[in-house]
C-alpha cells in the first residue's frame, strides 16, 4: 500500500473522520467498561452526567478545563512549528513557582497591578525554562523531545527541594507546601460564590490571541512555514532558528500561565500535586483540536469532561478511573490517524 495526497479534501471527509475517531473511542471505552462489569450504556451515561449533569458538575469541568486550555495552546503553538515541547509540565510549575514566590509578599504592589504583574512574571519564567532546550536544539541539534521531557523530572525535583526547604510553609504542619498567596494575588471568581475563576476567562482570551497571531501576523505565517518545511522556509529567507526561539518562548509562557491560574485562581499555594499531568494532557488536547487554538477550548472541555465524569462514574459504577486515561490515549491515536486519512488516500498496489 502507499499513500496519495488528496488535492482538495471535502468538508465531510475533513470533519467526519475526526468525529468517527471520537465515536470509536467511546465504543472502545464501553467495551472496557463492560469487561470491568459495568453496563456500558450506564457507564457512559454516568461519565456524561458527572461532567455536565449539574451546575456543580459543569463548573467543575470548566475549572478542570482551564489549565488544559493553557497547556493545550502551549502544545498547539509549538507543534504547529514542529517544535516538540513535551515539557509543559515543568513550565507550568515554573509559572506556579514564580506566582508563589512573588505573590506571598515579596512584591508589595497595589492590588490592581499585582495580578497582571504575576501573570507576566509567570510567562517570563515559563519562557526562560523552555529557552534552554530551544537553545540546545538550535545550537547543538539536541532533540527537544528528550530534553524537554527530562526537564520535567528535573524541575519537579527542584520544586520538591524548595518545598521542603526555603519555600516550606511553617504553618503547613510539616507538609511540603508553600505559604498561601496574598488575597490581592487571588484571581476573582467569575460569579461570586461559585468556584469558577477568571483564569478561565484568561484562557479563552489567550486562545483568541493565539488565533489572531496565527492567522493575522507575519510570525504566525513564519511559524507555519517552518513547521511545514524548514528547508523551504530557510530558502525563502525566513530566519528558522529565530522563529523556533519565538515559538518556544510563546509555548513556554502559555504553559506557565496554567501554573499561575491554578495557584492564583484555585489552590492559593504550591504543592507537588498542583498538576496531575496537565502538561502531558495538553498534548492530547492540542492533537484533538487539530492544533487549532479555538478548537483547543472545545478539546479541553471534552478532555476535562472525561476526567471529571470518570471520577464520579468510578465511584458510582466501580469501574477503575484509569478508563479516562485509556479513552484519552485511544482518542489521541485515532485522531492522528483520522487527520492523516482525511488528507491522504490509501492506495493498494
Amino acid at each position: 500500500m502507499r499513500l496519495e495526497p488528496i488535492a482538495n479534501p471535502t468538508l465531510p471527509r475533513r470533519l467526519g473522520l475526526p468525529a468517527l475517531a471520537i465515536v470509536a473511542t467511546v465504543v472502545i471505552a464501553s467495551l472496557l467498561a463492560m469487561i470491568a462489569g459495568g453496563n456500558p450504556f450506564s457507564v457512559l451515561g454516568l461519565i456524561l452526567d458527572g461532567a455536565f449533569g449539574s451546575k456543580f458538575a459543569i463548573l467543575e469541568t470548566l475549572n478542570r478545563a482551564t489549565p488544559l486550555i493553557f497547556t493545550g495552546l502551549a502544545a498547539a503553538v509549538a507543534f504547529r512549528a514542529k517544535f516538540w515541547n513535551i515539557g509543559a509540565e515543568a513550565q507550568l510549575y515554573a509559572g506556579a513557582l514564580i506566582t508563589v514566590v512573588l505573590g506571598t509578599g515579596l512584591l508589595a504592589w497595589p492590588s490592581p497591578l499585582l495580578l497582571p504583574l504575576l501573570a507576566l512574571s509567570a510567562v517570563i519564567a515559563g519562557a526562560i525554562l523552555l529557552l534552554i532546550p530551544a537553545l540546545l536544539k538550535t545550537r547543538f541539534g539536541v532533540d527537544e523531545v528528550v530534553t524537554t521531557l527530562l526537564f520535567n523530572f528535573i524541575f519537579l525535583l527542584f520544586i520538591s527541594m524548595l518545598l521542603e526547604g526555603p519555600l516550606k510553609d511553617p504553618m503547613g504542619m510539616g507538609w511540603p507546601k508553600s505559604a498561601r498567596v496574598l488575597p490581592e494575588a487571588r484571581l476573582p471568581r467569575i460569579v461570586e460564590g461559585l468556584r469558577l475563576h477568571w483564569g478561565f476567562g484568561l484562557a479563552i482570551l489567550s486562545a483568541i490571541a493565539i488565533w489572531v497571531i496565527q492567522t493575522r501576523t507575519t510570525l504566525g505565517y513564519e511559524m507555519r512555514a517552518v513547521g511545514n518545511n524548514p528547508e523551504a522556509a530557510r530558502f525563502a529567507g525566513i530566519p528558522v532558528n529565530a522563529v523556533l526561539m519565538k515559538t518556544a518562548l510563546l509555548s513556554g509562557g502559555l504553559a506557565a500561565l496554567a501554573g499561575f491560574s491554578e495557584v492564583a485562581g484555585l489552590k492559593g499555594s504550591l504543592t507537588l500535586d498542583l498538576s496531575p499531568g496537565f502538561g502531558y494532557t495538553g498534548i492530547i488536547v492540542a492533537m484533538l483540536a487539530l492544533l487549532n487554538p479555538i478548537g483547543v477550548i472545545f478539546a479541553a472541555l471534552f478532555v476535562a469532561g472525561i476526567f471529571v465524569g470518570a471520577d464520579s462514574m468510578s465511584r458510582a459504577a466501580n469501574v477503575p478511573t484509569y478508563l479516562a486515561d485509556i479513552m484519552l490515549a485511544t482518542a489521541l491515536l485515532l485522531m492522528v490517524l483520522a487527520i492523516m486519512l482525511s488528507r491522504f488516500r490509501v492506495v493498494r498496489d
Partner: protein
C-alpha cells in the same frame, strides 16, 4: 574518602550491574527500532506493561521464563500498534509514541485494578534468584559484581552480543540498518522497507517489555504503580549516548547505573546529609542531557530516523 570506599566495594558494583540490566534490555529494544528508522517513544509505557504482564503471568501460575515470554508478547503487541500507525501510515512518531505510552500505562493500571480489585499491597511472587557461576564468582570484586546475578542479567549481556552480531554480521542486520540509513536503496533491492521497520519495532518493543519485566521478576518481586519511573526516557538518551551501537549502549547503561547506585550510597554519607536528596535524584537526568549535548556533536544518527518512507514519492 567515603566515596572511594563505596567505589571499591563489590556490593556497589553488583548493584550497578543489577540496576543496568533492565536499562540494557530496553536500550537495545529502542536501538533496534531507531536503527530501522523509527523513534519509539512508547518505551516508557511498554516497560510498564511488560513489568505487569510478566509478574501477573507468574502470579497466575506460569513459570518464570514463561512469564518473560508473556511480557515479551505483550510488548510486541504494543510494538505492532506503534509500527502500524507510524510505518505504513507515516503518522508522527512523537505523537504516536506518547499515545502508546499513555495507552500502555493506563491499560496496565486498569488491568491491575480489575485483576486485584481490593488489594492494597500487591502480592509477591517467587522471583528470579541470583545464580553464582561456579569458579568465576569467586574472583575478587568482579566475581560478585558480574557472576553472582540473576539469569536475566546474564541474558541481558548475552543479548548485547546477539544484537551486535545480528546487526553487523548478518544480511538481516544489514537490511535493518539500511532501512534506517537509506530506505530507497532497500526498496531498490526488492525488499520491503515497511516490513523491515514493522518487524524491528515489534522485536524492539518486545525487548523493552522484558526490561520492564526485569523490575517485577528479578529486581523486586511485585508490581507497583510508577515503578518504571522514567527509566524508558533514560534509555532513549542512552541510545544517543551509545551512538546507536549495542556495545557502547551497554557501556552507557552500566556507567549510568553505577552513577545511580553511587548517588543512593552517597546520600547516606556526611556529604549526603549536607546536600538535599533531590540533588542526587536530579543528577541522572542532568547527566542524560549533558550526554546528549556532548554526543550530538559527532552526530551518527541514522539518516532516515523519523523520516516516513512512502513508495509513491522518491
Amino acid at each position: 574518602m567515603e566515596i572511594l570506599d563505596i567505589l571499591l566495594s563489590a556490593s556497589f558494583w553488583a548493584a550497578a550491574i543489577r540496576i543496568a540490566s533492565p536499562l540494557i534490555f530496553a536500550t537495545l529494544g529502542e536501538l533496534i527500532c531507531e536503527r530501522a528508522g523509527v523513534l519509539n517513544l512508547g518505551i516508557e509505557g511498554i516497560m510498564v506493561a511488560g513489568a505487569f504482564a510478566g509478574w501477573m503471568a507468574v502470579y497466575s501460575g506460569t513459570g518464570l521464563w514463561m512469564g518473560i515470554g508473556v511480557a515479551m508478547a505483550v510488548g510486541m503487541l504494543f510494538g505492532l500498534l506503534h509500527s502500524t500507525l507510524t510505518v505504513p501510515f507515516g503518522l508522527s512518531q512523537h505523537v504516536v509514541g506518547l499515545g502508546v505510552t499513555l495507552l500502555a500505562t493506563s491499560a496496565t493500571y486498569y488491568a491491575y485494578r480489575l485483576a486485584l480489585p481490593e488489594v492494597t499491597s500487591p502480592p509477591k511472587i517467587e522471583a528470579f534468584q541470583p545464580y553464582a557461576i561456579p569458579g568465576l564468582s569467586d574472583l575478587p570484586l568482579i566475581g560478585p559484581a558480574l557472576f553472582h546475578q540473576t539469569p536475566l542479567t546474564y541474558a541481558a549481556f548475552l543479548l548485547v552480543l546477539i544484537v551486535s552480531f545480528t546487526l553487523y554480521r548478518t544480511p538481516l542486520g544489514l537490511a535493518v540498518r539500511a532501512a534506517g540509513e537509506n530506505p530507497s536503496a532497500v526498496a531498490a533491492q526488492g525488499l520491503s522497507v515497511t516490513a523491515i521497520r514493522i518487524g524491528a519495532v515489534i522485536v524492539g518493543s518486545g525487548f523493552m517489555a522484558v526490561g520492564g519485566a526485569f523490575l517485577t521478576m528479578s529486581a523486586f518481586d511485585s508490581f507497583f504503580f510508577e515503578m518504571v519511573n522514567g527509566r524508558g526516557w533514560i534509555c532513549i538518551a542512552l541510545v544517543v549516548f551509545g551512538a546507536w551501537r549495542p556495545g557502547k549502549a551497554l557501556l552507557g547503561a552500566v556507567l549510568f547505573a553505577a552513577f545511580d547506585a553511587l548517588q543512593i550510597r552517597v546520600q547516606q554519607t556526611s556529604l549526603g546529609t549536607a546536600v538535599p536528596y533531590q540533588i542526587f535524584l536530579m543528577a541522572p537526568y542532568v547527566l542524560s542531557i549533558l550526554a546528549l549535548v556532548l554526543v550530538s556533536r559527532r552526530a551518527e544518527v541514522p539518516a532516515a530516523l523519523m523520516v516516513p518512507f512512502n513508495k509513491g514519492e522518491r
